[in-house]
Each structure stands twice: as C-alpha cells, then as structure tokens.
C-alpha cells in the first residue's frame, strides 16, 4: 500500500494543516477514488471472511458453555462411560451413543471405502468417457439427494428387507443405518479419490507398463499408492460425513438407547439422541443440558477428524 511519502510534494506544502478528512485518507493511504473503492471492497471481503470465523467461535463457545456444566454435574466418567441413558429418570450415560456412532461410522467406512475407491479407480483409469460421464452424473445426483429421502427409502425398502432376510422382529437396526450411511458417503469418497487418482503423473504409469506390468497391475500398484494421501483424505471426509449424519439414520435405526451389541440391535447415535429428545426435555432441566453435552462430544469428534484431515492435506502438499 502507498504510504505518506508517496503523496505529491506540492500538496503537502500547499495544505499547511491538513483537514481531519485528509488526515484520515492519508492514514489509510487513500489518495484517489479508486483507492477508496479498493479500501471498501477490501473491508467487505474481510468482513465476509470474518463471518465464518465468528460463527465457528460462537458455536464452539456456545457448546462449551451450555454443554460443560452438565458433564461436570453428572461426572465426566459417569457421563462418557455410563451404559444407561434414561433422561426422564435421571440416567445420563452416553456410552451406548458413542459406541453406536463409532460402530456405525466404522461399518459405513468398511463398506463405502472399497466401493468408493474402486469406483474412483474405474472412473479415473478404466472407463471410457461416455460410461464415466454417466456414472459421474449419477454420483453427483446421489450427493444431492436430501438425507430425509435416504431415510424414507431406507425405511420403506431396506428395513423390511433386513427383517425378512434375517427373520427379525424388526429390521430397524444398526445394520440398516450402516448401509444407508455407506451409500451417503460414497459421493465425497468417489470425487476426492478420483481427483487424486487423475493427478497421478502419467510418467509413473508409463514406467510401469514399460516394465511389462498390465494396465490393472499398474493401477493398483502404482496409481493407487501414488494417490494415497488423496485417498486418505477421501476416507476422512467420509468419516466426517458419517459421524455427523442424523436425519437418515434416525428413520432406520430403531432409535432405542441400546448398546450396539450386534448388527441387528436397535440403536441410537450421538446425533439422533439429540434430535429425538430435544423436544421432550424441559427447558432448564439437567436432561436438556445433557443433550447439549452430547452435542459438545459430537463437536469434539468432528474437530478431531478435521485435525486429521488437515494433517493429510499438509502431508500431500509436502509430497
């Protein structure tokens, strides 16, 4: 930016004592109408950028302030490791929710990652342009479907199917939630993994082919390892998406605060616990405060995932 010394000499002498307005302009290096516009737009950009920062700070602070007291009142271990949740009757153990969220996410990753990464490999390295275009638009449609629709279809199709297939009293289960989640995380995994596979330099693949490796061997042994940090990023994004989902799985998981002892148990996740009880808990009660505490725990999980994600992205830049 221009400083005082760039002001024309005569102007300084002629003015003698500069007016307040001139002093202000000079202070910010504003010498012309264009400078003023620049200044305004810069300020606008800064304010817009600051909105995001302010929101994050506000949400973090709000969650800590409203979530921490209940945790302290219940006791950290009783809260995190307690196996029984019964808000009406003063039982506030959220271990079932934590374990369910972890199991649901792990299951979704276990199913979604292989399918997603293989799809990405197919799109980036094997499929011809037409086939790839069809699959790619299907994937982006998948990404655009609202989660309540996933929930509806899951409820109408998947839950009865699981009930019939395994001869259960009810098909609403951890398994149903895992299947829905693994489909929901596919688009982000496919997109990120495909982008990183495409970015693998052609020279690597040529070198492999020139050594007598087949096309498929080359994809698995050269392209995939070369794209590993991108694939890792895709997986972490998938985890983030799965652990934060509520609407779709509340409709297929039975929504009972059980420990996730088997794939067929009806379960409740960290997210769905908050969503399903917030309307019933009396304002000001410990029950309601404990729901905010669950929100805080979920928030910490997401923060952790973001930290991991940043580490991967940083590693990728250093590669």
């Amino acid at each position: 930016m221009a400083d005082m010394s760039s002001m024309p000499e005569q102007e300084k002498k002629a003015e003698g004592k500069p007016s307040a307005m001139t002093r202000f302009k000079n202070r910010f290096g504003l010498h012309s109408a264009r400078d003023v516009v620049e200044f305004i737009v810069h300020t606008l950009f800064f304010l817009c950028g600051f909105v995001a920062v302010a929101c994050v700070l506000f949400i973090s602070a709000y969650l800590v302030i409203s979530g921490l007291p209940a945790i302290l009142e219940i006791g950290v271990t009783d809260f995190l490791l307690g196996e029984v949740w019964d808000g009406r009757n003063g039982e506030y153990g959220i271990l079932p929710f934590i374990l369910t969220s972890l199991a649901g996410t792990a299951g979704a990753i276990l199913i979604g990652v292989p399918i997603g990464v293989l799809t990405a490999m197919f799109l980036a390295k094997v499929a011809n342009n037409k086939v790839a275009a069809v699959i790619r638009s299907a994937v982006s449609l998948l990404a655009g479907i609202p989660s309540v629709v996933y929930g509806l279809v899951g409820m109408m199709v998947l839950v009865p199917a699981i009930r019939e297939l395994f001869g259960l009293a009810s098909g609403s289960s951890l398994l149903a939630a895992i299947v829905v989640l693994s489909i929901m995380i596919l688009p982000s995994i496919i997109n990120v993994a495909e982008t990183s596979l495409r970015a693998v330099p052609k020279e690597y693949e040529e070198a492999s082919l020139a050594l007598g490796a087949t096309h498929i061997e080359t994809i698995f042994r050269v392209s995939l390892p070369a794209a590993r940090s991108g694939v890792a990023t895709a997986i972490v994004l998938g985890i983030g998406r799965a652990i934060g989902e509520a609407m779709a799985i509340i409709m297929v998981s039975g929504n009972v605060a059980n420990m996730p002892t088997s794939l067929f148990t009806s379960v409740r996740f960290l997210t769905t616990a908050i969503a399903s009880e917030m309307n019933y808990a009396t304002v000001g009660s410990l029950w309601r405060d404990a729901l905010f505490s669950i929100g805080l725990v979920l928030f910490l999980f997401i923060m952790l995932i973001n930290v991991i994600l940043n580490v991967f992205i940083k590693n990728k830049k250093e590669d």
């Binding site: 020279e203 690597y204 040529e206 070198a207 492999s208 082919l209 020139a210 050594l211 007598g212 390892p225």
Partner: protein
C-alpha cells in the same frame, strides 16, 4: 551381423498425421544404435513402436513389421507384457516411482512373480551395480527415490529397467534433462551395458551420438533418410540432407 530387432516397411499414423513412413531398419545385437534427426521427425514415435508403447494412444494406426528375435511383435499371439519385459524403456524425464529405491528396482521382478526376499535383494544389488549407482545408494535403499538428484534418478530408472533382465534397452533422450557430469556417467554406462544388452538411443546431441553409438539412423519428416556405421555417417554421409543436419546447417 545379427539383427536382434528390425523393422520392415513400418508405417505409423496418428490420425491423419503420417508420422513414420516406410521405415526399414536393423538394430544389431550388442551394439548401440543412435536415432538422430530434427525435432518432430518421429524418433520417439519409432522408439515407442519398438515396445508397443504406442498402443496406449487412441487413433494410432500401424502397418508393417517390427521383428524381435524372429517374431513380429504385432502378431496376435504376442503378449505385450512379454515384449515389454524383454524390450525395456528409459524415458527422457527421470520417472522413478514415488516409492523407496528398493521398491523401485524390485517393482519389475515382483510384477513378474518373484517374491523371495533373498532373491529380490540380489536382483536389486545387481541392477543397481549394473547402472553404476550401487555405491551411492547402498546405505539408503529404504529412502524415497525422489530424494535423489536428477542424474541419480535416471540411473535408478536404468537399474529398474535392468532388473527385469531385458534384452534390448530403449533410451529416449535419457540424458537431455541432466547436467554434463551425470550425462558423461550415463554415457560411460551405455558403453558398458552394450556388452550385455542391445541398445537403441535417441539423441539431439551429435557429439553424444559419435561418442556412444556404433550405428546411426537419420530421420527426417518420418522418413529414414540414411543409416549405417556412425563413423561413416559422420565422415562420409551419402545423403546431402544427412550432411546438412550433422554439420548443423538445419534442424
């Protein structure tokens, strides 16, 4: 004279672009054949055709024969992975895989089914020695190959090509990205390697062609203008165009 590799009336089109025109050339065993000619005359295209790396490019049409050990490589029964295993390629830009030095060299043998650690260790050492880089990297085989200098990377790539025990080694301007010292190391290496392998190089450097090659082939606009002993080509070229090129009058 034993031609281990030869082309007969080889024509190649990239779409409508007739990039190789009726090229008939013999590349004798245990000799270095240098392909020279101005940019865009088809040297790389010719070289890539020899191990069918052109197969990857859409729109390529090839006529004529490439005969490797009495076998036309375009015959349907020829397995292209078999061919590429025996006719290795070193590229212009050093392109080691983003893996350890060891894994780079072991990549080819592993691809061809060698799994034993001891056997792989032996192959890795032998190949690195063969590419005259063993002493420089023997203490850091587990380090990434990308941490080496450009000249070292190129020798890693040569070692990687040697590890599958090829017969013929194709090198497309393998020293053009390197400094003079690395270049002369690789030239010495080529002189050494030809005892074991048959070598075909592409070069823009006339001194290099005279230093390392036994035979020379001059290409112009996709045509093979002249080929023969390097000494003869550089002292008494038969074709006026060859003379103009090697004396630097065009190109």
């Amino acid at each position: 004279m034993d031609a281990i590799l030869k082309t007969e009336h080889l024509n190649l089109w990239y779409g409508d672009n007739h990039a190789l025109k009726d090229v008939t050339l013999e590349m004798p065993e245990h000799q270095v054949t240098a392909l020279i000619g101005p940019s865009g005359c088809g040297k790389s295209t010719f070289l890539k055709t020899l191990d069918r790396m052109n197969d990857l490019i859409p729109g390529v049409r090839i006529e004529g024969k490439v005969i490797y050990r009495n076998q036309n490589i375009f015959d349907p029964q020829v397995d292209v992975t078999w061919l590429r295993r025996h006719v290795g390629m070193v590229f212009q830009k050093p392109n080691p895989f983003p893996m350890s030095i060891y894994d780079n060299i072991a990549y080819g043998p592993r691809t061809h089914g060698i799994r034993g650690k001891k056997e792989l260790d032996q192959i890795v050492e032998k190949s690195l020695r063969g590419a005259a880089i063993w002493d420089e990297v023997k203490d850091r085989l587990k380090k990434s190959a990308l941490s080496l200098s450009g000249g070292q990377q190129q020798r890693i790539c040569i070692a990687r090509a040697l590890a599958v025990e090829p017969d013929v080694l194709l090198m497309d301007e393998a020293t053009s990205a390197l400094d003079p010292i690395s270049t002369s190391k690789i030239e010495d290496l080529i002189a050494d390697l030809k005892k074991t392998y048959t070598i075909v190089i592409v070069t823009h450097n006339m001194q290099q062609a005279t230093r390392v090659s036994d035979r020379c082939a001059f290409f112009l606009h996709g045509e093979l203008v002249e080929s023969g002993e390097t000494e003869q080509i550089f002292s008494v070229p038969k074709d006026k165009r060859t003379e103009d090129y090697i004396t630097g009058r065009f190109g």
